[in-house]
Amino acid sequence: MSGALLRYRVMAYVVGVGLLLLVLIGVPLKYAAGSPGVVAVVGPIHGILYIVYLATAYDLARRGRWTLGQMAEVVGAGFVPFLAFVVERQVTRRVERELR
């Protein structure tokens, strides 16, 4: 259980940072400065990492009782900037409370 939580937390941070790179740096560079390099590299990598993130989140969720709303938050964290960090804190606090 603590292993699943750790895997989820690592992926939440990776996906959170990756999305910020994509939205705050990659997209402005592509559409304002006309250089698509960052999007071309970070875009596909973020896509793959999001799938891995989803797998770790699902692995964590199926070990406890998560509501649909909690699942939706976790899914949304992959494409709403900054949400990953907020949700990660909530999930970690809740899982650690349940474990105690």
Binding site: G47, I48, I51, T67, L68
Partner: protein
Amino acid sequence: MRSTWLSSRAVLLHITMTLLVATMAGLTWWQASRALSGNTLSFVYAFEWPLLAGVVVYMWWDLLHEPPDRGGRRLERSSGASTNGAVARTNGAGAAGINGAAAPEASPAVTRYRDDEDEELAAYNRYLAELNASGRRKTWRHPT
């Protein structure tokens, strides 16, 4: 086997999975057509959308076939110290069905559902209330 495939929970899973996979199939088709017209970025996305659809199908299958209520119970049992908390929640969530008596306000020390119950009956009613609470909590898990 009816409940595996035809319970309301299962039907909801079928609908969700179908909608998501159909959407992802459409996105795959769109990215594939863009890739064929020379967009290398779309070439990668054309493979990622089917992969994500595969994850959705896996979750759908796993949620359909998971044993009833695995995990959740274990978590609740292991948090034995919070038993009184669970009972207190129950009073709000509809313990009134037990013995047909309306649930009185929970005192933190001992919760009683009837004035005339002895200690053993009180313990049993608390147990029933806990079962009731854990069974009715709205989760996406397989119901008990």
